[in-house]
């Protein structure tokens, strides 16, 4: 067993699960979406990105690209949410909906990532 591979898979799957946990619930209801869960989703996604860096294979490049997409979506969501709470002072229904939909987009990217990871694992010769 390779410890590096364990951490690699761990963070990729964790990024997806946290993202999913934040995403479920009514799209415009702030009570259904925990900011701490969002924070962890973003942090884990960033770590997953760094772990994917440096693999020059084709699959590695696609994995990195999906991670970058997820990061971009989550950072965009964080900026919108932070702007709404700090600058305008209220989280409207529309703002919450955009934050959650952006997180939903990030989740799709994370799903792709996990699918690729599984595909690669299945291809491995024993």
């Amino acid at each position: 067993m390779n410890t590096q591979r364990v951490w690699f898979a761990f963070f990729i799957v964790l990024a997806l699960t946290l993202n999913f946990g934040f995403f479920v619930g009514d799209i415009d209801n702030p009570h259904h979406h925990n900011p701490y869960e969002f924070f962890f989703a973003l942090v884990v996604s960033l770590i997953a990105t760094v772990l994917k860096i440096g693999d020059r294979s084709h699959l590695g490049a696609v994995l990195l690209a999906t991670s970058l997409v997820a990061d971009l979506q989550l950072i965009a969501a964080a900026v919108i949410w932070g702007y709404a709470t700090q600058v305008t002072g209220e989280v409207s229904v529309g703002v919450m909906a955009s934050v959650v939909s952006l997180a939903g987009g990030a989740m799709l990217a994370n799903v792709t990532s996990v699918v690729l990871l599984i595909a690669e694992t299945i291809q491995l010769k024993r």
Binding site: Y36, F39, V43, I47, I53, G54, A78, T85, Q86
Partner: protein, 552 residues
């Protein structure tokens, strides 16, 4: 770039983890406003705080002064994030300044630059004496090179060489096929590979690699042994230059055909712009001070040309023969006297040591001041002493190779002419040099050679008259297009017809034909006027008319 990111994995993850823990702690720990209300920092505030703490900017406690528990957490934040930040920045700088990383970067930059070259170029393997000289020679003819050398200090020297373009340098093992590929051997613009390292085995590897990687690219190789030369020729290496054989041939040419020797060197060496014929007495013997391969090739050449000689060598010659041999180095007057120095006409100091060679020549000159001196220079760094030593001829290995290759690369006409020159009688060459001197008059300008093809591209002004009654002759070209129509300080060394017929030293009365290729030689700068004349139809007509009038 990927390498950089790979190296930075751990610092980046450390940074992300410490930041996130710090931010989370700040958000979770409750603060108290001056009014006594309990509040929590928002993620934005927390991230802002951690960011300015980590980068040691330190804006202070915002939005309200901290409670003791917040201060306690801030202590942890300060030490952990600042250390993590410095650690990542330090890693980035360490990777960027790592010599291996920088070498790799500069190699990759060179490769991408070479693959972007839009001019034809030659690949020079090895920046030794021959390589540096040849790159300079070729630059004077406007030919670009790409250089490969495994030695960093030589590559630095190459970077400092004063050329009209920026030389692309690849620091890598020449014998590796990948290095050749990186140097662009497979590109259509690559005109040839010049294997000039001082190791036969490396040159051989370069030649074989090129043969397989790019079969259409010609290889010019240096070879220091006959076995290696045969090996290189066995797979059709285009040009193999053996510096020892060329040196021996040069010395015998100097003795037997001083005029051809002078003409040859003026033509093949762009640094030599004068023709100086050394006056060599025809009777008397020569003294050769040399050992090893240079001695073998010299003896062979002297025997072939039937020049009497005496070999001064520290080791006995392998084959028993009828020529005279003296044991010694030649640095002592006694040894030279044994070799009958007072009756000799010349001496060749050809040992492997520059100090010995100088010592031999100085001793010899004091014994017999009338001697013709030939010195062999081994190290390029000894050039100042050899250059100022007033020797009749200095054999420089690097220069010999550079000259030979230069003659083959710049213009194929020159090489064909040099082949003719070797079999030409000495009296004819003497006549040609005298003829040029007559045309030059009292002036001694710098000399140069160039070629001209009579086609619509290069000589549109001449073509219309070729099939008319005017019938332009070679002499009509060599006319100053100025008012007086004086003859130009130029002579034609070789004319090649379209069908391949060679006419060495053509006379002025030779009829010109379309497609003729001419090798012309004379005062530097005269070719501008000639090119002007052959491009202008009206001008050439005037010249023709004027000349027909005077002859009629």
């Amino acid at each position: 770039m990927w390498l950089l990111l790979l190296e930075l994995r751990t610092p980046l993850i450390t940074l992300v983890v410490t930041y996130s823990i710090s931010v989370l702690g700040l958000v979770l720990i409750p603060g108290v406003t001056p009014d006594g209300l309990v509040y929590h920092l928002s993620f934005l505030d927390a991230f802002y705080l951690v960011s300015y703490t980590a980068t040691t900017i330190g804006f202070g406690e915002i939005p309200h002064p901290f409670t003791p528990s917040q201060k306690l957490w801030m202590l942890f934040v300060m030490y952990s994030t600042v250390i993590a930040w410095l650690y990542s920045i330090g890693s980035v700088l360490a990777v960027l300044s790592d010599p291996a990383f920088r070498r790799l970067r500069s190699y990759q930059r060179s490769v991408s630059r070479i693959h972007g070259i839009k001019y034809p170029y030659w690949i020079v393997c090895g920046f030794g004496g021959a390589g540096s000289q040849l790159i300079r020679f070729l630059d004077q003819s406007g030919i670009r090179c790409v250089m490969i050398d495994s030695d960093v200090t030589r590559a630095d020297a190459a970077r400092l060489s004063d050329l009209s373009y920026e030389l692309d340098i690849l620091v890598g093992d020449v014998a590796e096929p990948q290095t050749l590929v990186d140097a662009g051997v497979q590109r259509a613009l690559c005109r040839g590979v010049l294997a000039l390292t001082d190791q036969d085995q490396v040159n051989l590897t370069v030649a074989t690699n090129t043969r397989i990687l790019a079969p259409r690219v010609p290889v010019y190789a240096r070879s220091a042994t006959d076995a290696n030369t045969r090996n290189l020729r066995s797979f059709d290496t285009e040009v193999v230059i053996d510096p020892f054989r060329v040196a021996a041939r040069s010395v015998t040419q100097l003795i037997r055909k001083p005029n051809a020797f002078a003409l040859y060197h003026e033509l093949v060496d762009p640094d030599l712009n004068q023709i100086d014929v050394v006056d060599i007495p025809t009777s008397g013997h020569w003294i050769i001070c040399a050992t090893g391969r240079i001695a073998e090739t010299m003896v062979e050449a002297f025997v072939r040309e039937q020049i009497p000689f005496c070999l001064v060598s520290s080791t006995a010659p392998e084959s028993e023969s009828d020529w005279f041999w003296v044991q010694g180095v030649g640095t002592e007057a006694q040894t030279l006297r044994e070799a009958r120095i007072h009756e000799a006409v010349g001496i060749v100091a050809g040992t492997n040591d520059d100090g010995d060679n100088l010592s031999i020549l100085l001793t010899a000159q004091s014994e017999n001041p009338k001697l013709v001196t030939v010195a062999r220079r081994n190290k390029p760094t000894s050039e100042p002493v050899f250059g100022q030593g007033h020797f009749n001829f200095v054999l420089r290995e690097g220069r010999i190779i550079a000259q030979e290759m230069y003659a083959r690369i710049t213009t194929p006409l020159l090489h064909q002419f040099l082949g003719q020159l070797e079999i030409m009688p000495e009296a004819l060459v003497d006549g040609i040099i005298k003829k040029l001197h007559v045309r030059l008059g009292a002036e001694r300008p710098e000399l140069a050679h160039f070629d001209l093809t009579l086609d619509s591209d290069e000589a549109p002004g001449v073509l219309p008259f070729l099939h008319t009654a005017m019938a332009p002759k070679l002499g009509d070209l060599l006319v100053d297009p100025g008012l007086d129509h004086l003859s130009m300080p130029l002579i034609c060394l070789l004319l090649i017809r379209l069908n391949g017929d060679l006419v060495p030293f053509p006379g002025d009365g030779l009829q010109l034909e379309e497609g003729d290729r001419l090798l012309l030689w004379g005062a530097m700068g005269a070719h501008h006027r000639l090119h002007f004349l052959v491009r202008r139809e009206d001008l050439f007509e005037t010249v023709l008319a004027a000349r027909r009038q005077t002859t009629a």
